[in-house]
Symmetry: C2
Subunit: 156 residues, 2 copies
């Protein structure tokens, strides 16, 4: 239940590839696993710099790629132009609702989707590895704000 497990997976993965456990690499690992939800590369970079860690952007990107390759981190574009990274919780894949007004991202788990994925992929001769479902719409807060404003300028 501790991070130990994922850390071990990571260390083994790095070794298997003939890689090295550098200080920067392990710090980035800790950094992303201490965040919850989505982070973008730049935020990780800045957050580490703020802590006085000397690390370069290139290293952040390189090691994020490594984490993605070993399956511990998922990289996605959720509407915006930049990639967002989040750690994978094995066995409990989730998807995202995105508010098109405030860009808020809400995670949800829908058991139905995996089955749907398998079925659809099979029907087209695909061997599915993963899916991404993004539902965009307007969240409660923004809907409230919008209707207030509309009411205020109602006149025609």
């Amino acid at each position: 239940m501790e991070h130990t497990t994922e850390r071990e997976i990571f260390e083994r993965y790095v070794h298997r590839r003939g890689g090295r456990l550098t200080a920067e690499r392990l710090r980035l690992f800790d950094e992303i696993f201490n965040q919850h939800g989505h982070v973008d590369a730049d935020r990780l970079y800045r957050s580490m710099r703020r802590q006085g860690r000397k690390i370069s952007r290139a290293t952040v990107y390189r090691n994020l790629e490594l984490l993605v390759d070993c399956g511990l981190v998922r990289r996605q574009r959720l509407g915006q132009r930049r990639y967002l990274y989040e750690h994978v919780h094995p066995g409990q894949s989730h998807d995202h609702l995105i508010c098109r007004m405030c860009d808020r991202v809400v995670e949800f788990v829908s058991p139905g989707i995996s089955a749907l994925q398998r079925e659809l992929a099979r029907a087209h001769g695909f061997d599915p590895t993963e899916h991404t479902l993004q539902i965009s719409g307007i969240c409660l807060d923004c809907a409230g704000r919008a209707s207030t404003e509309t009411a205020a300028s109602e006149e025609s």
Copy 2:
């Protein structure tokens, strides 16, 4: 059943916004509605230049945005870094299977998803406007090619 209808929607939309029906705008409309499947901005640009149309990239992007705003065109990132555009066929939303080896994109229609979208959005207080479901995996061709290669180098 003719394009006329969509063209009319577009013209009305432009007028409602106080916009003008410029030659470039209408040519881009024709161009994208003559393509089937997905196109990226650059391909539209080059295709129009090839036909001797004088148009700039900026204009292509600006008018694609207009088409997206008026709901006739959908803009998505299907894995790659660039946006892909496709015309919307009202009432028959589809989603995409993407081969992670050859980047091939296959469209599919799944009636179940709209219902799922509504249900999930409601559960989280969202007013859903649209969804994007991308399933990535390996297509038949690539799977075949991969297994052949694996067999060829089988020895351990």
